[in-house]
């Protein structure tokens, strides 16, 4: 069931789409464009429409997806993507709009953005929100730029951003991209920021601390109020990576904990599908003091009209063209409306319940480095199995044989042979049990079976070393 490349299917003379005849004078391009600017050859493939549909349909079938099975990929919040959101996002009145069409002809779109911003502010405990960032990491970058602009406006140039050792790679990368020095703070035995360490690191050169809360171990930073006090006292800001907000919806708000900035991952918490890697959307919420620095334009309401306000003197400018991933925003907006405030809390409650239930089933079979109530996810260690020569990777691959997507592995970095499991609220207990049964069974399986897994996939384990050594990044004749 493997599939050729489109280039290998291509045959000279085939066409894949019918185009309109030219109804204006058919002038030779040479008359309109200097010959030297015209391309001689366009080496694109040639396929008929049936071949195209069949090719990509068959490719699709080689994928695992939330719609085909359990996807407990920690940190990614692979929850069910409601169908009605897709239907709504494809309505011509919402999908087929030019970003520069006159304001009076996009009041519906602006209203949607305005309201979504308000709802997100509510949920996160923030004062103002920009919907412009295209993903979580983009939100982080935007946040870093805002922090920088904020201090500059106060005549300060701070250089450091503190980031826990358990943080996602985007956090240090975003800080660095913005010229900050990323300073690592260690986690304590309980898996949270080591307060002693933190105290030592914080000084008046610290622009901010970036925290994920619950953190990447799935644990709530219980000392968050203390952390906030420490950082704020030194004049620094608190940035919250909201990737794990699913655990807190309607239960607690980062804004109330002292966070000054917070990005939302709409493609995680707010159920917009991940599309095989994107598009996402990473709106950023900030406290009032930071609002003047948000990227332009902001959607504002004047009376009953919605406007795009570009007139923000202190703004960092823009982090992408236009207003953000509007099509993704539509889905998140629809999701929020179908939940309402009650539903929102149910999401968090069930996500956390599912995680704890599942974690509990593994206690006797895998090493659980942090044995306490978790939030929406938890991290097992394959340390015991490693003694038998079995790696987290082997366990992951073997899960595929049982029909499951593997968890995130080897992250966070502070856990040996980490298996990071996030069930989400949209899975049933039956599914959790089947998954637990499989993972427990695997814990006892023989090395050979595990090392050779997966066994029923169109390809087996691939030679990644060779791929990196001699990169083959495109087809050639």
């Amino acid at each position: 069931m493997r599939e050729k490349l489109v280039f290998e299917i291509s045959k000279k003379g085939r066409v894949g789409v019918s185009l309109p005849r030219c109804d204006v004078p058919e002038e030779e391009p040479e008359r309109l464009i200097p010959e030297r600017c015209l391309r001689k050859d366009l080496p694109l493939p040639e396929l008929s429409e049936p071949e195209i549909i069949r090719h990509f349909t068959r490719l699709s079938q080689l994928n695992y997806a939330v719609d085909t099975g359990f996807y407990p990929l920690g940190s990614c919040t692979m929850k069910y993507n409601p169908r009605v959101n897709e239907e709504i996002a494809s309505l011509p009145g919402l999908a087929r709009l030019h970003p520069y069409q006159p304001e009076e002809l996009c009041q519906g779109a602006l209203r949607l953005m305005y309201e979504l911003g308000e709802y997100l502010a509510q949920i996160g405990g923030m004062d103002a929100v920009t919907l412009q960032p295209a993903a979580g990491a983009h939100g982080e970058l935007t946040g870093m730029l805002i922090i920088r602009a904020y201090f500059l406006s106060k005549g300060q140039k701070r250089h450091k951003v503190i980031i826990p050792d358990s943080a996602h790679g985007t956090n240090p990368a975003s800080a660095a991209l913005c010229g900050y020095q990323a300073v690592e703070v260690k986690s304590d035995k309980k898996g949270c920021v080591d307060i002693g360490e933190l105290n030592k690191l914080v000084d008046d050169d610290v622009a901010a601390i970036m925290l994920t809360n619950p953190n990447t171990l799935g644990l709530f930073e219980g000392n968050i109020l203390e952390i906030a006090a420490i950082v704020h006292r030194a004049g620094g800001l608190l940035y919250c990576d909201g990737a794990n907000l699913n655990a807190l919806l309607g239960v607690a708000r980062p804004g109330d904990m002292g966070f000054d900035l917070l990005h939302f991952n709409l493609h995680k918490t707010f159920s917009t599908p991940h599309g095989g890697g994107g598009p996402g959307s990473g709106p950023l919420g900030v406290k009032k003091a930071l609002a003047p620095f948000l990227p332009v334009p902001l959607v504002v309401k004047q009376g009953k009209r919605y406007l795009l306000n570009y007139n923000c003197l202190l703004s960092i400018g823009k982090v992408r063209s236009f207003y953000g991933n509007f099509g993704v925003l539509v889905k998140a907006y629809a999701y929020l409306l179908s939940l309402g405030s009650e539903g929102l809390r149910q999401v968090a409650e069930n996500a956390v319940l599912n995680a704890n239930y599942l974690m509990n089933r593994f206690k006797d079979h895998y090493h659980l480095p942090y044995d306490r109530i978790c939030k929406h996810e938890f991290v097992l260690s394959g340390a015991r199995q490693k003694k038998r020569g079995i790696r987290a990777l082997d366990i992951a691959k073997r899960l595929i044989d049982y029909g499951f997507h593997p968890p995130t592995i080897y992250f966070p970095l502070i856990v040996n042979e980490a298996l990071m499991i996030e069930p989400t609220e949209t899975e049933s207990r039956q599914t959790l049990d089947r998954f637990a049964d499989a993972l427990i069974k695997i814990a006892g399986e023989d090395v050979k079976t595990l090392k050779s897994a997966p066994h029923h996939t169109p390809v087996g384990r691939l030679d990644e070393a060779a791929a990196a050594r001699e990169p083959n990044l495109r087809w050639k004749k």
């Binding site: 789409v17 694109l44 709009l97 030019h98 209203r111 509510q122 660095a176 598009p279």
Partner: protein
């Protein structure tokens, strides 16, 4: 809650299994003073039917391009999207999967991205392409950052004929690091080569232009490329992929990095996003590239397969030293682009480009005949052109709207020097009839002056 399978009974049993008495206990690790007790101030839940109705009403408050005839471009374009594209991107196996970290069960996405990368290379004439960036503007910003990494230099020259928002984004990305961005002025609507030659020196990491540029004009890319290379600067170009159906690709004029907005490749305009930035460069820069890459390799039985590769450039491994902080990209939009390019193919993309070219020129010629309307610049253009109007463009657009026409973009906003300038876009979707109607409306407006 119909998205949550747990029933009340399940919840009770599951709590029992973990030895807790109530759901609240699951949250006992959160300090009491920050726990919310009242429901948030959000609307109460909409049923699916109400939600659909609400969304339809919101949609009805927007003009959509099925109902309006669009002559506006400026970075987002009303091109035709074949049905096959929509069909494929709506396959749940594509859109409800995550980044293909587990290659064995992600060959669909991986192979499609590998095909996308190849198609972008074929289209641009470049050697390697990544798996997509957020959009055209941020792709350009990443290109600029990469130029600095590759050259070790700290000065940039950006043409003023670059999309104003792209310039803004590049500058925002540079805020945190000490790189200076200088704008190259334009003359007759084109990057001023004299100025460029004067200001260019070996501190410059890259010369950045858009081609066709914001005014719709073809830049002197061959010459700019040579000028830049003379001082060891990179030549970074932002191109309209549709134009590459007939225009020389960046590879032929020795561009070092070619980026652009991929929306036009089968993605809805969607009020500005999700789009995708494509990013292609030379093979020798590959380890300096931002973004994900898919490579071909083999499994133990020698079967070809695809994997994410060269990940050591990326944030999840390299962290502070990564070539970019990007993680989620615009994979599904890249898939749309791959299907689009495959569907259009060799002949189709050329045809679309020719249709744009001819229709835009027809519209331009007809407009130029009108009293009071005159071309703003005399250069060669592809699908967009700038005209000078006899009256204020906002007024003109107001009149056009009454006929359900979305007129050109008013240039004044970003180029105050062109008080009465209008940037008109004509894609292959515009019929002669629509163009004639548009011109006829302009004629009437002109005569009323």
């Amino acid at each position: 809650m119909h998205y949550i399978p747990n029933t009340d009974g399940d919840r009770i049993e599951m709590l029992q299994a973990i030895g807790l008495a109530s759901v609240d206990e699951l949250f006992s690790d959160i300090p009491a003073q920050v726990r919310i007790n009242a429901p948030l101030k959000l609307p109460s839940a909409f049923s699916e039917l109400e939600l659909l109705e609400h969304a339809r009403q919101l949609g009805a408050e927007n003009a959509n391009i099925d109902d309006y005839v669009c002559f506006r471009g400026a970075g987002a374009y009303d091109h035709f999207i074949p049905s096959v594209v929509k069909q494929i991107v709506s396959r749940a196996e594509f859109y409800t999967s995550y980044t293909p970290y587990q290659a064995e069960i992600s060959q669909g996405t991986l192979q499609a991205i590998y095909e996308y990368q190849t198609l972008i290379c074929q289209l641009t004439g470049m050697e390697v392409s990544n798996a997509s960036m957020y959009d055209g503007a941020s792709a350009l910003a990443e290109a600029v950052l990469m130029s600095c990494r590759v050259t070790g230099r700290d000065r940039l020259l950006l043409s003023q004929t670059l999309h104003p928002e792209y310039r803004q984004v590049v500058k925002a990305y540079l805020q945190g690091i000490s790189v200076e961005a200088v704008e190259i002025p334009y003359a007759s609507g084109l990057t001023d080569l004299d100025w460029l030659k004067k200001e260019l020196n070996d501190r410059v990491a890259a010369v950045v232009v858009q081609h066709p540029n914001f005014f719709g004009l073809l830049e002197e890319v061959d010459e700019i490329s040579q000028i830049a290379h003379r001082v060891g600067a990179l030549f970074v170009v932002s191109v309209d992929p549709i134009s590459l159906g007939i225009l020389q690709p960046p590879g032929t004029y020795e561009a070092d990095i070619a980026v652009g907005e991929g929306q036009v490749l089968g993605n809805e305009m969607c009020f500005g996003g999700p789009y995708l930035g494509f990013f292609a460069t030379r093979e020798r820069f590959v380890r300096n590239m931002p973004g994900r890459l898919v490579g071909a390799t083999t499994d133990s039985e020698g079967r070809r397969g695809f994997v994410l590769t060269l990940q050591t450039r990326e944030q999840h491994i390299r962290r502070v030293k990564a070539t970019s902080n990007i993680c989620s990209n615009e994979s599904l939009n890249a898939l749309a682009a791959a299907v689009y390019l495959t569907a259009l193919g060799k002949e189709g993309l050329r045809k679309v480009a020719l249709l744009c070219l001819r229709k835009a020129h027809y519209a331009w010629r007809e407009t130029a005949k009108l009293n009071g309307f005159s071309p703003l610049f005399s250069g060669t253009f592809f699908k967009e052109f700038s005209v000078n109007c006899p009256t204020s463009p906002p007024k003109i657009n107001q009149v056009l709207l009454r006929q359900k026409i979305i007129g050109g973009l008013e240039l004044k906003g970003s180029y105050p020097e062109h008080e009465n300038g209008l940037l008109v876009c004509v894609t292959e979707k515009r019929t002669k009839e629509q163009i004639d109607e548009f011109v006829e409306s302009l004629r009437k407006i002109g005569e009323e002056q």
